[in-house]
Symmetry: C2
Subunit: 235 residues, 2 copies
Amino acid sequence: MNLLLISNSTTSGQPYLQWPIEHIRKFIGGCAETAAFIPYAAVTFSYDDYEARVQARFNELDITVQSVHRSPDPARAIREAELVIVGGGNTFALLQKMQEQGLVEAVRDATLKGIPYIGWSAGSNIACPTIRTTNDMPIVEPASFEAAGLVPFQINPHYLDAHPDGHAGETREQRIEEFLAANPTVTVAGLREGCLLRIGDDRRELIGDRPMRIFRHGTTPQEVNPGDNLDTLFK
Amino acid sequence: MNLLLISNSTTSGQPYLQWPIEHIRKFIGGCAETAAFIPYAAVTFSYDDYEARVQARFNELDITVQSVHRSPDPARAIREAELVIVGGGNTFALLQKMQEQGLVEAVRDATLKGIPYIGWSAGSNIACPTIRTTNDMPIVEPASFEAAGLVPFQINPHYLDAHPDGHAGETREQRIEEFLAANPTVTVAGLREGCLLRIGDDRRELIGDRPMRIFRHGTTPQEVNPGDNLDTLFK
C-alpha cells in the first residue's frame, strides 16, 4: 500500500490543489508519468472540466491525467495505472458510480499491488471501510455504503472544531459521537484541513500544521500531532 | 393530511422543545390525549430517555406520550394513534429502524386517514419523499433512502446561511445545488431554525420569524415569507 489521503483540495483563498502539491510531488517521487483519475465526485460541473482542472495542477509534476470517464474499460484503466487519483466532491455520487463500474474492487486490487493512491476529501472517504463518516449530503443512493477499505479506520475529512454561532445543529464532534454509538468498534480520524496522511507499508505519517483528532467509543478524543506514531490506528 | 413539520427542536440557549410548543398546542387544538412517539433518531441516548424528555414538554398540553419502542406492535400503534410524533436526531438511524418495523408505510397510512403528524428535524426529513436532503452523517445504512413522502418536496431542516470562516467545506446552499444537479425535477425547501410548516388539506403555511429558501434546478433560489402562498411547492 502506498496512500496519500488528503483532507481538502483547497485552502480558503488559494488556487485549486495548490497547498498539497509539494506533498504530492514528494509522494510520487518522479515514479509516474501518467495517472488514472476518477472524477465521479463531480456533480455540479462536468467530468471533462474536472479532469482539466486537475491536469492544470499536475502539469507542475509533468504528469498526464487520464480520467476514467473517457476510458472504454475504467476498471482496467485503474488496475493498469501507474498512479490512481480520486478527486473530492460528493462522496455518495462518487461511490455510486464507482460501484456501477466495478471501481471499488479495482482500486483495492491496484493499491494491493502497490500502485500509489492519492485521494482528497471524498477520495479519502472512499479509502475507508465505509463512507459512513462523510460530511456530504446523500444526494444519490449508492448500492451500499461499503468503500475500498484501504485503511482499517474511518477518516472524517474537513474535520472542524468551529460551529456557527446561534445554530442548534450538531457539531462535527457530536456527529462522530453518533457514529461511534452506532459503530462502537470503529476508530475515526478527524483530519483537519491542511493535513494529510501518508501511509506506506513501513511508513504511517500525519503531515500538516495541525493535530488530528482520534475518536474511539467510550474514551475521550485524543489529539495526535504530526510526527507521532500512528500504529494504534492500524490495530 | 394534517402535518406540522418543524425545523429544529431547540433554539440556542433555550430548554428542549420550548420554542415550538405553542405552535404544537394550536396544531393539536385539544383533539388528542395521547400520542404515538417514534424515538428511533436517538443514537447517543436511550429511547426511554427520549420518551421522557418529550413527555416532560407535552405535559404542558396534557398529552400522554407513548413511545413505539415499548409497543408489541409499533406499526399498529401508529395506525391507531390519535397523533403521531417523530423526534429529531440521526435521520439514517431513524429511517433504518422505521423500515425494519414497517413504520414508513404505517405513518403514510395514518396521515392519509387524517391522523395529525408532528415531526422535527429528522422527523421532518422523514415526511419527505426521500432522506436525500438530510444534514446528518450516514452512520448506519437504511435499506433505501425512500421515506414517507407526506409532502411532494424535500425539506432541508436547520437551513443556514452562515459558514465557518476559513473553512473550505461546502456551504449548505452548495450542498443543495449538488442535490438539484443530481435530482433536477425536485424542489427543496430550506427551512431555517425557528420555522415550521403547517400543512392541511386546505391550509399550507410557513410559520416563524424568518423566510424559507426555495431551491429549484436552473433557477435562482427564492425567499418565501410567512404568510406567502405555498401552492407552488405542491405542484
